[in-house]
Each structure stands twice: as C-alpha cells, then as structure tokens.
Amino acid sequence: MKTKPFAAPYAVWMLLFTIVPIALVAAYSFTTADGALTLRNMANFLDPIYITVLLRSLGIALLCTLICLLVGYPAAYVLAQKDFDKKGVLVLLFVIPMWMNFLLRTYAWLTLLESNGLITSTVNRVIEFFGGQGNVRLLYNYGAVLMGMVYNYLPFMVLPLYTSLSRLDRRVVEAAEDLGANRSQVFLRVVFPLSVPGIFSGVTMVFMPAITTFVISRLLGGAQFKLFGDLIEQQFLFTGNWNFGSAMSLIMMVLLLLSMSIMNRYGDQEGGGIF
C-alpha cells in the first residue's frame, strides 16, 4: 500500500507533543534558570530530605504492589477456574473500578475514613462500647495512603493475572497431574511459573502509578505526608523551580524505565525457571 504520507500528521503530532516536551524536561534538568548548563539540579536531589521522600515512595509503592499481589492472585486464580459460574459478571465487576475515575475512588475512601466517616465512627463506637476513648483517627497517615493505593490499584493487578491464568492450557495442567504432580506441585511447578508474565504486567500496572501518584497522598495523607509525585507537583505549582522539578521528573522516568527493563529481562530469563 502506498499510504506512507498518511502517517505525517501522526509523526508531526508525536514530535511536537511527546518528543519535544520530554526533550524540554531533559533540557531544563541540566540547566539553571538562566539557561546555563549545570548538574546542580541533579546534585540537589541528593539532599537527605529528598532521598527520604524517594525511599518512602519506593517503600510504599513496593508494599502496595506486594499487598495487591497477595490479595489479587488468589482472587484471579479462583476466577480463572473453569467451573466457576457467573464468571463473566464477576470479571466485569473487577473491570468497572479500573475505568472509574480514580479521584472518585480516592474520594470514596476519604468519605469513609474522615473523622465523621462510616468506618471511623463505627470503629470509635466499638471502642467506646468497650469503655475506651473513641477518638481514633484513621485519616492523614501512612496507613490511609497505603489503603487508598491498594484500593485504587488492586483491579490493575487482578485483571492481568486473571487473563494469564485463564489462558493457561488446561491440558498442560492435566499433563502435570498425569506425570505424578499433586495439586500443590501442579501449582508450584506449572501454574505459577506460567503465570509469571501476568504477575509482571500486574506488578508494572500497580507499581508505576503507585510510585508517581500525588493525589492519593494529598487527599488521604494530608499536607505533611509527601511522596515523590508531591515533590514534583510542588516544584512546578508552588516553588516554581522548573529546573529542579524537571530534574526530579527525569529521575523518576529513568528510575521507572530502569526498573521495567530489569523486570522484563528477569521475566524473559527466569520467567519459567524460578522453581
């Protein structure tokens, strides 16, 4: 087909609105406000204040990913079983939250956890019932942010896992049973290794937004609880230091691309041979 020129608008658009902006971010990262070349912005990031935030972001994102995996895997595994009836409806019920506005999801948690919220007031009433002081606060702390993240990203873990587990060839499982593997051996030696690609895509889909979020920490963590995303937002919208903000964005991108390529390589090599 002689249709190459059709791609011209696409090429121009991607150049203008994807490549150039990212190049601008990179340019700002290595320049001062006056436009002189510098490594200052990168060096500034080494300040313990920022490193702490980076580590906190990494930690909470990893923890969130782990919890999503531990909670989501069994759910996906059960859903993927052939004899599970009404499966279609249940899978759709996992899809709907994925498409729901995530501010709305976060806001929904906010209404439950804020001091007059259903969960908080129920917890406090239970405590009072047992004679304690019912003034527990569930919002604006680490736990609230973690819960909010798990709540937001859990479907993104379940769906890829479900897809990879339900694509699993039933006969491969039978072959393992036939060769003498009992149920747990079938799972450990066949089902789990074959679901590793699903695990990787689930982990990516949870980890990536978890480490970049600033909305969840802002709404559920309060002003004091800062994550990497908050730092970037702050630099652009409040402090106005675009150069430093760009440097942090670049660091975030490199970090993500790096971790994903490591995961991909690990996935390719070890995808099967974990056990």
Binding site: Y10, F17, I22, Q81, W109, L110, V158
Partner: protein
C-alpha cells in the same frame, strides 16, 4: 469439594466487597437528608438539585464532555491515519514511529502533564481549554494507534490488491476495503480515547488553569472537605461510566459476531 468452592467464592466476594463498599456508601449517602456521613437521616434528592443549580459544576461537566469528544475525534483521526501510513512502511522508520507511541504510553501521567505544561508556557500558549484539549489528544493518539494496528495486521493483504486489480484507485481501495476492515479497531480506539479523556485528572491538572473539568473540580472540592454535593456528583459519574462500559461491552460483543 462443596466447602472448598464455598470458600473460593467467598474470597472473591470479599475482595469485591472491599472494592465496592466505598462506592456504595458514597452512593447511599448522596441520598441522605442528614449531612452526616455516618447516620441516615432520611431520603432526599436535595444534593442532586443543588448539583444542577451549581453553575461551576455544570460548567465542569460541559468542559469534560467537550474535551473528551473533541480529543477523541481528533486522536482517532490522527491515530488511524498514522496506523494506515505506518502499515506500508519499512521496519526502520516504522519502529521509530512506534517508539514514540511507546514512549508516550510508558511516561507517567505526571511527567506528561508537566512536560506539556512546560511546552505550552514555553510556546506562550495560555493554559486553558485549548491546551487541555491538545494534551488530551496527545495522550489519546497512541491508544488509538494500538487499537487500529492489530486490525490492519489481521487484514487480508490481498484484499487491497484485489481491489486495485479490479480497477479501484488507491483512495477507493482504502475507503471501500481497508476502512471497513479496520472499523472495529477504530471504534475501539475512539471509545478508549473518549473514556480515558473523561477519566483523566493528572494531565488536565497541569495543562489548564481556570478552566476545570469534573476531575479537577472533585479534587479541589475534596481538598476543601467533604460535601454531599460531591457524593451526588460522584454517583452520577459512577453511573455514567458503568453505563458507558456496559454499552461498549455490548457493542464489542456485537462487533465480534
């Protein structure tokens, strides 16, 4: 055997309960006459009435829908043409163009947001409706591209050549043979782009100033504190997205047939 099934089923329902409890609470309390978030004070539609009298909210709704529709149409156009164009390319230039789309999809929303903000301010474009629209088109294009490309690959390559052989011009062959073949992919891409636009917060947040869409409005209202009007708004948004999804589900199952 029976009890194992019971536990498995129970576990799935438990996870679903975790996912839906906050939403359902929110919906229930959007009809609550009392302002409390824990006590039921009788049924009311007051918050919905308040919602539709609030010009700020109505304006945000208008912005959301207008941006989503315009961005989806533009992105579908650019993305579809891009896919058709790339399909006839050699591997080298093609992979370069694909890499751009991949880069866009791998870049975190917050970085897309700030990078576009830098671009717009750098180019002296005042942030507002127009810049938000440009941003939405940008993040939508790769999704359309990746919805259309597989359809093109599935297409029987000789069909296009057969059309030429039978006397069609290039343009006729594309219009009468290629386009109908890839139409399901184009539709999927359009719907995907539309929903992504409706849903977006982060990128919109950085690429506009006064003009707000619903996500930004919910964010700023939520930061000021909880108000039953947001419950009502959220309920409506939830119902809208579920309706849209069910529609898409039915549509795609019809298309598959």
């Amino acid at each position: 055997m029976k009890s194992a099934g019971f536990f498995k089923r129970g576990y799935v329902y438990l996870v679903l309960a975790f996912l839906y409890m906050p939403i359902l609470t929110l919906i229930v309390f959007s009809f609550n006459a009392s302002k409390s978030r824990a006590v039921w004070g009788g049924f009311t539609l007051d918050w919905y009435r308040a919602l539709f009298q609030n010009s700020e909210i109505l304006n945000a709704l208008y912005v959301t829908l207008a941006v989503a529709l315009l961005a989806a149409v533009t992105a579908t156009f650019i993305g579809t043409l891009g896919a058709i164009g790339m399909f006839s390319m050699k591997n080298g230039p093609k992979s370069l163009l694909l890499a751009a789309a991949n880069l866009s999809m791998l870049t975190p929303d917050i970085v897309i947001g700030i990078s576009l903000m830098i671009l717009f301010l750098f180019a002296n474009l005042p942030l507002g409706f127009g810049t938000m629209l440009l941003a939405h088109v940008s993040f939508n294009v790769p999704y359309v591209l990746f919805s259309v490309l597989p359809r093109l690959k599935q297409m029987n390559g000789s069909a296009y050549e057969a059309a030429l052989d039978l006397g069609a011009t290039h343009w006729q062959a594309i219009r009468k043979i290629v386009l109908p073949e890839i139409m399901p992919g184009i539709l999927t891409g359009f719907i995907l782009a539309f929903t992504l636009s409706l849903d977006d917060f982060v990128i919109s947040f950085f690429t506009t100033s006064e003009v707000q869409n619903l996500s930004i409005l919910v964010y700023s209202m939520a930061r000021r504190g909880i108000h039953p009007t947001i419950n009502a708004l959220s309920t409506l948004m939830f119902v809208a997205i579920v309706a849209l999804l069910l529609l898409v589900n039915r549509k795609s199952s019809i298309l598959e047939r």
